[in-house]
């Protein structure tokens, strides 16, 4: 259907135009509540890229890379994993259990162990809906949403019960000192580059970048990836080719859940250094928008995750500096998700028509 559209327009032009449209409507919203939209853009950009802001932007970006990849991998198998929120939350439980069970001597070993714990717990939380989908046909959208709620309740219970630190606060005890991850400040200091000391961005971002490469190879270079894509495009064809739907559903969702779970090394291990309530903070849902906007491709996911990192950090700055209520920021972020995700055809159709006319004129 989109024969008339060159690839660069499909992957670049349309998202950018969608984004501009979203920002334009957001500008109207800001105008509507009686603030200056130009000023708001300035504040956002400075807030996201400024000396203090960039460390937060990259921290959020890391979260969104993990959850975006999680949604993207499942989506290649045409499975809509809405459960990133719960899987990332359970990943946090995995991280906490690993780090609290042993007095870790240094952060590298701790990071490896915590990553495995996060991945296993995230994957396990995705495994149940995956199995129900593959074996019983229970729709994965419904079950993963339910598992978000169950997961949240489970974590609440753990934090006021078995895993609670002494005292009244619903959180675990702090992790061992030696297991603290180096922040980007520490990393850049090695190279003599100055970086804000208080920013939460940490070495997890390199794991996120590695995950991008891993997903690229998995989906496009391996036989399992080939089977995942074949299954995603047509289950009937996959069965004809001898590909087991059960196997592919399980593998795709386990990888997806593991990626979502890995987010916890950034938040729980890297930032809070203990498991607290609501450690995911909606990143699981942002991952859906990131994967949609990034076309489920690692490069797209990277760019979209960075964009949403900017929106999150810049948006926070906006409420702080301009007194725009927090709810309005959410509205703006929702507008971006809406325009780049579900309303994409608003931009796509006119662009396609334009290209057609242009092509005809040229021919």
């Amino acid at each position: 259907m989109n024969k008339g559209l060159p690839k660069w327009a499909d992957v670049l032009l349309i998202p950018v135009l969608s984004l501009l449209l979203a920002l334009f409507v957001s500008g109207l919203v800001v105008l509507f509540i009686g603030r200056d939209p130009i000023e708001a853009v300035k504040v956002m950009v400075q807030g996201a890229f400024g000396k203090y802001g960039i460390g937060y932007t990259l921290y959020y970006t890391t979260n969104f890379i993990f959850t975006g990849l999680a949604v993207a991998v499942a989506f290649h198998a045409r499975l809509f994993n809405i459960g990133g929120e719960g899987q990332a939350g359970l990943g946090g439980v995995g991280v906490a259990l690993v780090l609290l069970s042993f007095n870790w001597p240094n952060w590298v070993v701790a990071l490896i162990a915590a990553s495995i714990g996060a991945a296993i717990f995230g994957a396990a939380w995705a495994a149940i809906p995956a199995y129900l989908q593959a074996k019983r046909g229970s729709h994965i959208v419904i079950t993963t949403i339910m598992f978000n709620l169950i997961g949240s309740a489970l974590i609440n219970y753990l934090l006021v019960g078995p895993m609670q630190a002494p005292g009244m606060v619903p959180e675990t005890p702090g992790f061992p000192e030696a297991a603290a991850l180096p922040t980007l400040h520490d990393v850049f200091a090695v190279f003599g580059i100055a970086f804000d000391k208080n920013a939460p961005a940490n070495v997890s971002i390199f794991i996120a970048l590695a995950a991008l490469v891993f997903v690229y190879i998995l989906i496009w270079k391996t036989r399992i990836g080939y089977e995942i894509r074949a299954f995603g495009h047509s289950e009937k064809a996959a069965v004809y080719a001898g590909i087991s739907p059960l196997k592919i559903t399980m593998i795709a969702m386990l990888v997806s859940g593991a990626l979502a779970g890995l987010m916890a090394i950034n938040t729980v291990m890297g930032e809070a250094e203990r498991l607290v309530l609501d450690s995911v903070q909606g990143a699981g849902f942002v991952g859906i928008a990131v994967a949609l906007m990034g076309r489920s491709h690692p490069v797209g996911v990277l760019l979209a995750a960075f964009l949403f990192g900017i929106l999150y950090q810049g948006g926070g700055e906006l409420s702080f500096a301009m007194g725009i209520p927090r709810e309005m920021i959410v509205v703006i972020q929702a507008l971006v998700i809406m325009f780049t995700g579900s309303l994409e055809n608003i931009v796509r159709m006119p662009v396609e028509k334009l290209f057609l006319r242009f092509n005809k004129g040229g021919a």
Partner: protein
Amino acid sequence: MSVDTLDQGRSDSAAPVAPAIELIGVSKSFGPVQANKDISMTVAKGAIHGIVGENGAGKSTLMSILYGFYKADAGEIKINGVKTEITDSHAAIAAGIGMVHQHFMLVEPFTVLENVIMGAEDGPLLRPSLAKARKVLTQLAKEYELDVDPDAIVGDLSVGFQQRVEILKALYREADILILDEPTGVLTPAEADHLFRILENLKAQGKTIVLITHKLREIMAITDTVSVMRRGQMTATVPTAETSPSQLADLMVGRHVLLEVEKGAPNPGEVLLEVKNLSATDFQGVEKLKSISFNLRAGEILGVAGVAGNGQTDLLEILGGISPATAGEVRVKGEPIDLSKKASAALRRERGIGHVPEDRHQRGLVMPFQTWENTAFGYHNKPEFSGPMGLANQKAMLADAKEKIEKFDIRPTSPFLPASSYSGGNQQKIVIAREIENNPDVLLVGQPTRGVDIGAIEFIHKQIIALRDSGKAVLLVSVELEEILALSDRIIVMFDGVIQGERTPENTNEQELGMLMAGMNPEGTS
């Protein structure tokens, strides 16, 4: 509305009767694709006019323009001599045009009456409309042999009856011009004959009929005039009496084609596939196969004839490892194969069973996959396509694709195009190349030439016969009797999950096979 003083047939009366349909210079393009190019066509009132052409020749686009689904880029349409703007299907219906689509537009849980009045209700209450429709239907049934129980649930009716409901819908809307798109594709020969009688009756009452088909036999049997389309253009319009099937075929393809398949005598060897008392029940408990038994030898093509939905699909899917059987035994080269739920298509391929599936769009190909990915599909775990650590050997896949493209003349020749950008014939060549080149002992072939252009049909038939001549066994399932008769060394006919009879092509004909397909047993035993 059924008043018409004109005599039926080709009345060469001097009375200036405006043609029912007149198209003048109609063009339509979809992006860079010119689907219809400057088409002019006249259909006389009270005639049956055939339109033939290969897939993608533009027949359906042209009819969609006539029925208001698409708007032409240029040209004009005259209905009964009056210039008419057909902006949507309401305008088409108002102009007296009715359409019977290839895929029926019926609501299956509704009754016949409810379907007939749908969209043509007279008021907010249904009862008066239903009563009126009941009267009209009774009348139409008498006039045209169009009997259908008005209170039957459409989903319970056979395909032939469902088609009659479609025709009744058009007539209820007072259509004078009836367009039928590939109407016999799903019918038994007997049902098709009945349909033709209905069409003759309609014609006798002065209705104009446009028949779109790719079956030249039908064109010769029933039409008065025939138009041939090729690559978006109307290449010829001739009186049917003055043409022949081979001339029409040449006009459709643009070069001389062989309609007859050349093949030598079979040289059957050992039994490669042995099917014994095979039964299958679907998840709703419907028996799809009822204790089927047959043998297939090396160097032999066994044709399976039958109307779609009589168990052939289930047979192919069980043998191909897609679905399980409930009872029975199948042996390949004397060794039994797994018929349980644990079987998979991958295991079948290891046992030397190749499978060209009936539905290449949904099964045989992954449409967004590029050709080099599709040519390895199902064989992607073979050692030569496997790299270390679960990686795919993409270089080997690509080299293999290039070889197959060359050998099977797949066009366009780039291995990087998605399957969706090929014509039906070339898509099928990709599937056939993949399955034949993997050197199966037994090849299951379902509807090898459905939606395939005539030129490619010739090529695909040659490949199947070459495979037979190299000592392989071929199980050919097709709803096209011509194809079954032309290719098979033996023919079994399936009806309602049983083998209704076995024949050899030399000792049977379409009539006899047609009766077997309808569940009758002509002249005793088989």
